[in-house]
């Protein structure tokens, strides 16, 4: 986050006064006296769940724009892969922007519009990031039984990805199996999909 490092520089400044500066440990959220205690109430839990769902969707959508040049072409896996690293690089597969945003001159200013020649029809736009993963799961299972299914999977790959530097998507498709499996074990999906879950259960 942009603000997290902000306080770090403040720790030891103040030199040039009469006494030497005292190095104080940085407290990001110091205790405030007389603040009182907040009450816990589940009155707005539905709103909170929606908010959480929106955040999650946005973070996995192409609207969460990242610099393509900063993203490494090949993801380096560390020597000893830790459990928390599993989800690190797998969540970066995003559909290209123009799947969702119309980039012709009718809808965006002229200097931002994209040329007509690149406007190929998209066979299937992924509105629901989970729907594809479910299909993949099915394919994974079929693949284990019948070897021939591998051909269909590759064809789906090529059909979906158009030009625009989507090589990393194809390369990472096999990783998605891992990602998707871990996701299913994760409990955040439950609350996004099933509204009748226990109220206490989280909505991370």
């Amino acid at each position: 986050m942009a603000f997290r490092g902000r306080g770090r520089g403040r720790g030891g400044f103040g030199g040039g006064g009469f006494r030497p500066a005292k190095q104080e440990p940085l407290e990001l959220f110091p205790e405030i006296e007389g603040l009182g205690t907040a009450e816990y109430s589940t009155a707005q839990i539905e709103l909170i769940k929606w908010s959480s769902g929106l955040h999650k969707y946005c973070n996995s959508s192409p609207y969460y724009y990242e610099d393509r040049s900063e993203r490494p072409e090949k993801v380096d896996k560390p020597d000893i892969e830790r459990y928390s690293d599993r989800n690190l690089h797998s969540g970066k597969v995003r559909p290209p922007l123009w799947h969702f945003i119309k980039l012709d001159a009718d809808h965006v200013p002229t200097e931002l519009a994209r040329g007509e020649k690149k406007q190929k029809l998209v066979k299937r736009v992924r509105w629901n990031p989970e729907s594809d993963l479910q299909k993949l799961d099915l394919f994974e299972k079929l693949e284990q039984k019948h070897q021939g299914q591998e051909g269909t999977e590759k064809k789906e790959n090529e059909e979906e990805e158009e030009d625009g530097g989507n090589e990393e998507d194809e390369g990472e498709f096999s990783d998605e199996g891992d990602y998707e499996q871990a996701e299913y074990c994760d409990d955040d999906e439950d609350d996004f999909n099933m509204a009748d879950d226990n109220n206490d259960e989280p909505f991370y």
Binding site: Y63, E66, F100, V125
Partner: protein
């Protein structure tokens, strides 16, 4: 101009939704005002490709509006047309309260409409075909008619609207004054012109009132059903043939796919009415609240401005009909309604037989704002400060320190101390008056200035909201390891920490929602 903490809050919101690059562009536009593409690239020091893509995302998500303006050529060059981009601060902050908007739609229109609405919140802008497509994948049903019907219901309720023009052209001002060439101009006069330019841009971009909630006639097979809907959708009375000729005139844009987006104005209006009703309920009684909500509902459609000051004049009969429809309003008769109207301070206009009443919405909002500020003062500075502040706030003019001390029965020394504290924190305005003559004495005059105070309080609230969001992010980060574990592994100690994380999150987010209501009270209502 947006207050400093407002800028920080908006930047943080954009960063959490759309990434750091988009937030850099946003911050640049918010801090420096309206800029061209080249200027944005220069100030943000990002690559051209990145800035272009960020602008595409931000425009698509309704956070930025572009417009074309004519710039005078320098030294004999012909004037050229340049595109400028302005930040839409309000829409950025609305991202934070999207769940509240969803709640309104869900309560009023149901699950199907909520699905479409949620898509528009997520994607910013969608065409009808994209909506149908998306619905197929998310809701699993491929029934186009159901989708179109839900879409129409959203249109009728005015929760969605047509998107503004992507790049309207602003003709140069008629009086021949040239707009500022350089962005860095510091004079107030230029600042005023820039303000007008942005307002003009928004007005030019907005779809015509008659078109704003009009369903597009794209499919000839749909035309029949849509013609019936159109006669309901369009706010003004129109004849069928006039409608057709209008559509023919727009033949040129027929090929252009219409994009739809969330109509924040209507949703904020609903929240505003809700806030008024709950304030009245707390301040006066339930009955007055019922009468007020009936009146606001009736006059909702005639509210054209964002912050309407008075409701439309409504006849007592219309009010009565609406009141008995509401729950708890069944038992009310004319006399009780009249009594409530009196309590609400309604202006009565008697035209012959009819009694017409109008309510002063602005007055209610202002009372609510004053009460909010007074409660902050009470909490922070104590009861005596609260008394002093209330006195000054009601007086509305300068009062001298001794007079304040006498009226509020506070010791002179304490009065001065409290007044200084409040003044230092920008809650009061002070002026020194020196009387010359035989006896030279210094008088201190104190006063509450409503407008600067409102902005100051709003800035403090933005700051608080920013802190809350940072804290939520911090707690999420701290508990990262636990959140990534599958549920089976959460036993004993881990489970306790997990539950604690959940509770903390709920408390912080609920506080943020409550604070957001106060922010809306000071900014949007």
């Amino acid at each position: 101009m947006v207050s400093p903490h407002g800028v920080q809050l908006a930047t943080h919101l954009i960063s959490s939704f759309y990434g750091d690059l988009c937030s850099k562009v946003c911050e640049c536009l918010l801090r420096r005002g309206t800029l061209t593409l080249a200027q944005i690239i220069r100030f943000t020091e990002l690559s051209r490709e990145n800035v272009i893509n960020c602008l595409r995302v931000l425009i698509h998500q309704n956070c930025v509006q572009a417009f074309a303006i004519q710039q005078e050529g320098a030294f004999g060059e012909a004037p050229r047309i340049i595109t400028q981009y302005m930040a839409l601060f309000d829409n950025m902050i609305h991202k934070m309260r999207a769940p509240k908007f969803m709640q309104i739609v869900s309560e009023e229109l149901g699950k199907d409409c909520l699905g479409i609405f949620q898509g528009l919140i997520q994607h910013g802008r969608l065409s009808i075909n994209q909506i149908i497509d998306r619905n197929e994948q998310t809701a699993g049903s491929a029934d186009v008619h159901v989708v179109r019907e839900s879409f129409n219901r959203l249109l009728i309720a005015r929760f969605i609207e047509r998107c503004p023009a992507p790049e309207p052209f602003l003709a140069p001002p008629a009086d021949g004054e040239t707009p500022a060439k350089k962005r860095g101009a510091k004079s107030a006069k230029i600042g005023e012109e820039r303000q007008t330019t942005e307002q003009r841009a928004l007005a030019a971009a907005a779809p015509m009132d008659s078109m704003r909630f009009l369903m597009e006639m794209d499919d000839p097979s749909e035309e029949k059903s849509e013609e019936c809907t159109n006669s309901v959708t369009v706010g003004e009375k129109r004849k069928q043939d006039v409608l057709k000729s209008d559509e023919d005139a727009l033949d040129a844009d027929k090929k252009k796919e219409v994009l739809w987006r969330v109509n924040f104005e209507e949703l904020v209006r609903r929240l505003r009415h809700k806030a008024c009703v709950s304030y009245v309920k707390m301040r006066i009684n339930d009955e007055a609240a019922i009468v007020l909500s009936a009146m606001l509902e009736l006059s909702r459609h005639s509210e054209t401005r964002q912050k309407a000051e008075n409701s439309a004049y409504l006849s007592i009969n219309a009010i009565y009909d609406e009141v008995i429809k509401k729950e708890g309003g069944l038992g009310m008769d004319f006399e009780r309604i009249r009594a409530s109207l009196e309590q609400l301070g309604c202006q009565c206009l008697e035209t012959g037989v009819d009694e017409n009443y109008s309510i002063d919405i602005k007055g209610i909002i202002e009372s609510a704002q004053t009460e909010e500020v007074e409660s902050v003062v009470l909490r922070r500075y104590g009861r005596e400060a609260y008394r002093i502040f209330r006195l000054l706030s009601k007086a509305g003019r300068f009062l001298e320190s001794d007079k304040i001390s006498d009226t509020t029965f506070v010791e002179k020394k304490d009065t001065i101390k409290i007044l200084y504290k409040l003044w230092k924190d920008d809650y009061l305005h002070m002026e020194k008056v020196m009387t010359s003559g035989a006896k030279q004495s210094l008088f201190l005059l104190w006063r509450v200035n409503k407008e600067p105070l409102r902005e100051h309080v709003l800035d403090e609230m933005y700051h608080a909201a920013l802190n809350l969001r940072l804290r939520i992010a911090h707690e999420q980060d701290k508990g990262k390891e636990i959140l990534q574990l599958p549920r089976e592994k959460l036993v004993g100690e881990l489970e306790k920490r997990y539950k604690l994380l959940g509770k903390v999150r709920v408390i912080l987010e609920s506080s943020l929602m409550n604070l957001d209501e106060a922010i809306m009270l000071f900014h949007d209502f």
